[in-house]
Symmetry: C2
Subunit: 326 residues, 2 copies
C-alpha cells in the first residue's frame, strides 16, 4: 500500500485524488493546501484537509507527496523544497527548464535519500516515452507531434486578458490533411500554420466592439498570429453548457526507414482525453507507485518516466505482467 | 560501441543486420549459421560468416549475441544454451510459454553473469509496452488489440499444406467498423469474427479443384473457421509481383474511465510496417544496446522490455533525452 498526500487542490489535485481512488494499492492520507483548509471539501470521504504549514508533521505518514501546483511559479520552488523530506511526484511541463528542474530535484532527493519523479503527465510524460521508444527503434526517421483537439488553458487565458472579454475557451485542433499525410508515411515539412488551427469561443461584454476583439485575438503575437484562427462569439450560458469540460489529446508519430530498400514504417501514439487533469492525475498516480518502489529498493535521486522500468508503474507483479501483458 | 553477432541468417537475421547498420554505436562482428557458411553472402561488407560450431571462440569479441531463430524449436534450446556465455537478445513469441522461457533464460544468464532480453519485437515487445503503460495509467478500462493489415506466416503456411496449392499469402485485416467503434470510446464485446477478416491469395496447380481448395481453407479449424475469409486465386507471377513483401502492423487501444463522472479516455498505439522482419530487427537492436549497458553496470539475469528503463534503449545520453525528447 502506498500512502499518498496531495499538495495543491486545484484541477490537477482533484485529478490525482480521483486516480488514487481507482488504485487498490494506494491510499490518500492527506490533502495539503495554502488556502484555508475549511474552504475545501474533498471528494474522498474522511481524508483530512490541512494547512501546508503542518506538512512536516506527516513525513512518516506519507510515502509519496504529489505536487499539484503550476509549473510557472509553484513547482520550481516546491519540488526542490519537499524532495529533501518526501518522495515527490510533479508534472513540471516547462520543457526548456526541465534540465535545471531535474538538477535541483536530484540534489534535494539525494540529500534526503528520497526519490523525485518530475515532469509526469502526458506531455511531458507519455508523449516523451513515445518519442524516446520511437527514436530508439527507428533511428532513421522524422518525428511529428500534434496536439488536440483540446483546450489550451494558456491561450484561453490570453483571450480573457483582452478588453471587453468576459470569458473564453480556446481549442487547439490538428489539421486533418497534415495528420493524414504524416500517417500515410510521407515526411512532409509542415509550418506552424499547416499543423494546427485554433478555435476560439468568446463571451464579450454587452456593447463591446466584436470586430476589434476578433482582430486582437487573430493578430496576437506568439499565441495566434502564426495560426489560422476562428473566433465565435457566444453567450455565457452557451460557454458553460458546451465548453465546461477540459478535454485534450494528440498524436506522436514517427516515420522511419529501414534496410537497403528504404522500407517505410509508421509508429503512432494517440490520446483522446475527456479530462486533461484527470488523465494527468492518473499518470502521476502510476508514477507515485514507481517512486515508492524505487525508494523501498534503496534508490534515491531524481527520475523521469524515461528512467523508470515500465513494470514499476504497474500494480501487477512481474510474473503476472510476463504471463498476461507481455 | 556494442559488438553484435547474429545467430541465424533468415528474414529476422537480415532484419537485425539492416538495423545494426543504422546504429552508429553498434558494429556487426560476425554472423553464425547452421548452414554451410559459404552458402551465405551477407549484406554487410567484410563481416565474417562462420559455422555455429565456432561460436565459443568469439565469447570475448561479442558484446551481444542476437538469436534470430524461430520460437517453435530453435529458441527454446538456443536461448538457455547461449545465455550462459553471451548477453543474448531473442524474439521468442509463443506467449503462453514465455514464463517458462523466462525462467530458463534467467537461470542461465545468472549462472554466467550475463543479461538476456527475451521476447523483443513488436508483439511481444512494443505492444506489450503499450498494454502495460495503458493498464497502469487507466486501471479501470478495457484493452483491445487488432493485428494487420499484414501477412501471417503461419496462416500462409497452413494454406500451402493443402493439396493442389503451389503457394499462398494470407493477410490478417482488422474490421474497420470494429476499430472505429473502439476508437470512439465505446467498449464493445467483439467476437473473433467481428475483429478481423482473412484475405487469401492462392496459386493453385494447373487443373486443381479450386472449389475444394477454397472450401478447405474456409473451414480449416483454428486458422480460418471462425473468420470471414476471402480466397482469390492468382498466378505465380502475380503472387511474386504483388505479394512478395512482408508488411504487418496493428493497434493496441485501451478505453478507460476516470473520476466520479466516468470521464472517458482512449489511448492508442499503432504500427504500420512495410517489413515485419526489418522492424522487428530494429527493436532487437535497441534491446541489444540496453542488454550491453545493463551488463556493463553489473546486472545479470533475464529481462523483458517491461523491465528496461526506456532511456537504456536509446543511443542518446540521459541529459540529451531530458533536454530534447522529454
Amino acid at each position: 500500500m502506498t500512502r499518498i498526500a496531495i499538495l495543491g487542490y486545484g484541477n490537477l489535485g482533484r485529478g490525482v485524488e480521483a486516480a488514487v481512488a481507482k488504485n487498490a494499492d494506494q491510499q490518500l492520507v492527506a490533502i495539503f493546501t495554502r488556502r484555508d483548509p475549511k474552504s475545501i471539501t474533498p471528494a474522498t470521504e474522511g481524508v483530512p484537509v490541512l494547512s501546508v504549514d503542518e506538512i512536516d508533521n506527516y513525513v512518516n505518514q506519507v510515502d509519496v507527496l504529489m505536487l499539484c501546483g503550476g509549473s510557472a511559479t509553484d513547482l520550481p520552488e516546491q519540488t526542490k523544497a519537499y524532495a529533501r523530506r518526501f518522495n515527490v511526484v510533479d508534472s513540471f511541463d516547462t520543457h526548456k527548464h526541465i534540465p535545471q528542474h531535474f538538477a535541483e530535484a536530484d540534489e534535494a532527493s539525494k540529500a534526503g535519500g528520497k526519490i523525485s519523479v518530475i515532469s509526469c503527465g502526458w506531455d511531458p510524460g507519455l508523449f516523451s516515452l513515445a518519442r524516446t521508444y520511437f527514436n530508439a527503434v527507428l533511428p532513421d526517421g522524422t518525428d511529428y507531434t500534434f496536439w488536440g483537439r483540446g483546450v489550451s488553458q494558456g491561450h484561453s487565458d490570453a483571450i480573457r486578458r483582452i478588453a471587453g472579454v468576459v470569458d473564453a475557451r480556446q481549442y487547439t485542433v490538428p489539421v486533418p490533411e497534415a495528420l493524414e499525410a504524416v500517417r500515410s508515411g510521407e515526411c512532409p515539412t509542415l509550418s506552424t500554420r499547416q499543423k494546427h488551427t485554433r478555435e476560439c469561443y468568446v463571451v464579450a461584454e454587452e456593447g463591446a466592439d466584436l470586430a476589434r476583439i476578433e482582430r486582437e485575438i487573430k493578430t496576437m503575437p506568439n499565441y495566434f498570429d502564426e495560426y489560422d484562427t476562428t473566433v465565435e462569439f457566444i453567450t455565457l450560458d452557451e460557454l458553460r453548457k458546451n465548453h465546461s469540460g477540459i478535454p485534450h489529446g494528440g498524436f506522436v508519430i514517427r516515420n522511419g526507414k529501414t534496410g537497403r530498400n528504404d522500407l517505410r514504417h509508421t509508429v503512432e501514439f494517440r490520446l483522446q482525453l475527456e479530462s486533461n487533469p484527470e488523465f494527468t492525475g492518473s499518470v502521476l498516480a502510476a508514477c507515485a507507485r514507481a517512486a515508492h518502489r524505487m525508494n523501498l529498493e534503496g534508490q534515491c535521486g531524481c527520475k523521469t518516466i524515461l528512467d523508470i522500468p515500465p513494470a514499476y508503474l504497474s500494480a501487477e507483479s512481474a510474473d503476472y505482467l510476463r504471463a498476461h501483458l507481455l
